[in-house]
Subunit: 329 residues, 3 copies
Amino acid sequence: MILADKTPNQTPHLPLGDQRTSPWYGKSIVSVKQFSRDDLTYIFEVAHEMREMVERIGTFDLLKGKILANLFYEPSTRTASSFTAAMERLGGSVIPINEVKYSSVAKGESLPDTVRSLECYSDVVVLRHPEIGASALAAKYARKPVINGGDGAGEHPTQALLDLFTIIEEHGQPDGLTITMLGDLKHGRTVHSLSRLLSLYDVRLNYVSPEILRMSSEIIKEIDEKGIPQSEYNELEEPLPETDVLYVTRVQKERFDDPEEYEKVKGAYVITPATLESAKEAMVLMHPLPRVGEISMELDDDPRAAYFRQMEYGMYVRMALLAMVLGKA
Amino acid sequence: MILADKTPNQTPHLPLGDQRTSPWYGKSIVSVKQFSRDDLTYIFEVAHEMREMVERIGTFDLLKGKILANLFYEPSTRTASSFTAAMERLGGSVIPINEVKYSSVAKGESLPDTVRSLECYSDVVVLRHPEIGASALAAKYARKPVINGGDGAGEHPTQALLDLFTIIEEHGQPDGLTITMLGDLKHGRTVHSLSRLLSLYDVRLNYVSPEILRMSSEIIKEIDEKGIPQSEYNELEEPLPETDVLYVTRVQKERFDDPEEYEKVKGAYVITPATLESAKEAMVLMHPLPRVGEISMELDDDPRAAYFRQMEYGMYVRMALLAMVLGKA
Amino acid sequence: MILADKTPNQTPHLPLGDQRTSPWYGKSIVSVKQFSRDDLTYIFEVAHEMREMVERIGTFDLLKGKILANLFYEPSTRTASSFTAAMERLGGSVIPINEVKYSSVAKGESLPDTVRSLECYSDVVVLRHPEIGASALAAKYARKPVINGGDGAGEHPTQALLDLFTIIEEHGQPDGLTITMLGDLKHGRTVHSLSRLLSLYDVRLNYVSPEILRMSSEIIKEIDEKGIPQSEYNELEEPLPETDVLYVTRVQKERFDDPEEYEKVKGAYVITPATLESAKEAMVLMHPLPRVGEISMELDDDPRAAYFRQMEYGMYVRMALLAMVLGKA
């Protein structure tokens, strides 16, 4: 046996060298509501350092020896891949778990039991689940930090963080910016969470959508109470020239009772080179992806098109969060 | 090219530095029947050192550069994740193979051919397969060690080892203990294998089950020949006070021809805080998981509840086995 | 934060230390048509060094910190595992993506968008896709190198390279050899690509197949123009004694309109110990695997049986290609 001598210590299950004094150490990331503006500033500082480290040296061993259980109850290639890449670029390892539905869960195991089993093998758990509140439930029972990778119609906090980080990396900071959100603002989980985060800054928000897909009044009220100016439009034409960030989401045909209604409006929510003629040169065009025609591929080489950079920023944000909850940032 | 100069050596496919003199080096782990009491002592010594190393430093590079092919013909989140974590905590890498059924095998490839192909890429193969004897067949043809990760109604030797290791870690050692097994003892692969392993020690075994789910007479006979005292019960009440380890398994409704029969007995096989009132303070409550109501969640915080620790011990046992068959322990 | 100080550099997304002057750096591998004989010589020199390094020390950290996105739109256990092992043996990491069909793509995302998203997280993409031209399309849009892991009835260039590398490792070099291909030469993607590569050398090619599964006239014409002697046969008997490499492929029943026709010919395409009695002692017997009865298992211990070694050579070729396109060879 080439291992070290037996020792009688019975320390808790924490490796040495962890910065256990960090306020983020061991914390779960469940909702955007848990972040103050100072929290965001810190997360994005760490994420920015991650970006610079990756650009300079590719990967580094900050989380060497740490294991992420990537627990996906429904497929999400992009989110799963992004967390996997984040962990691997920090020198950590990943247990990919994609077939939960075929396995013990099919035998009737509860979510808390599944999470408490998997945390025995890992240091942090990312959970993607189709039901609202799944991550909060998991975090309640888990001894290790749980990161919400999307819980159905609930939240997808790392998406909201990467959206805001994109705005910061592209524009320097959000204060003073006019952000225009376009498309299905009623059902869009991403625009709801992003609006909430932006309301911590000095911004102006425009909402452009068909009548039946307006931003929910609950969110408008919540944001209004923070003193953030908000305006609603049917067409992009009017708010576009003053827009610093145009955030596009998909308008799905299935949302309309009357298919003719959909046909009438859909053209207004497709961005083409012609659309952007009246936009600022420094405007940033975002989309959570996947897109299905909402933004013309002809725009992909336009320097304003930030949606693929947005993907990459997502990896840096997830690197930051993993490092933070594991006590290494 | 930054690699070293060409060299004419034609050594076999073994990296330098392996401890090829170890009796475990290159061995397959197919059945609990292959272990003597001395073997078990050695495995659990190594597993205990693994536990201490993980608790102190998280991971280490004992198997750096080694590759595990994790070949699962049927899903088993827990077993697959445990082997993945075991390999990664030792610095090794994993090839996860979960879609065998959709791939070459669907084209009619034999199990020996699949295993002989995958061992070309890896240093050790873990095989989960729905058919009895699959691992023995694979081990017969493979040049690299094969570890049985469960072969249908056959064996699941690493589960049996982790069950015994749990008893040892929780109680110090098994001699003198009374182990009571509860539930479906007829079909339960885990209780069969664990009984066999325990019969190498000086223990007393109690079996508590409905009439139709009695421990198989073949196993009772086998264990009796080793001089181990065994007793059968319909109810837990009588043997509980003298029990040092209570091993609970699920009683499945489908096992009963008459649903009324099931309704009558099922309550007797659910463990609650009230059940444990007459149990020893130092008793250890085990379950192979997943549970579906056999043990009340109210007991999860009871120090006797060892089932999640049991999961974690499983990782240490698998770390030990991987290190041993790869000549590194 | 234990990371380094912020630095203002905005270098492109390339780690330091890359050998960016290599002609292979950043290149995609889409088709065998892109290789000259000198290219092949170089690839196989690197692959041979990979073999020696693996045999001597198992793995090494040439691609430490690099990430491969292993993007499989259809399952292929062998190809996916081989690339995973290749990357891991070089110290790199893998993002396994097997469920594309259930995920964003199901939402209608285009292949270029999927690839451009995943390359944000990775340094190189391996793409397996059921449609001809998928890899060429992906390579056109990607900023990172794309390696074709098979595009339907199109090409599978790394299979062709590993076939040729097998011939070179087993025979020293291809010049002067007689290679006999047997089976379904009409539909066999592997024999088409291998013939094209072999036409760069001084070889003699024999084609043995049923009438209706003859080598395509287009390929025969293409190879004839290079001055390579080619002969067609219905039976293996005549060309076997002069054969240095026998490359066997499967004859599928479904290719025949008349099942009786299939029954008549199938026996002629099964290799047994009796078949090989008239073969050279130094002949090499190859098969792309999986086999379904085309080669008798009795031959597996015959030193001429190279089909499992062929699997292993495939890993070395893929290690070489990964190192080359990442600027490390």
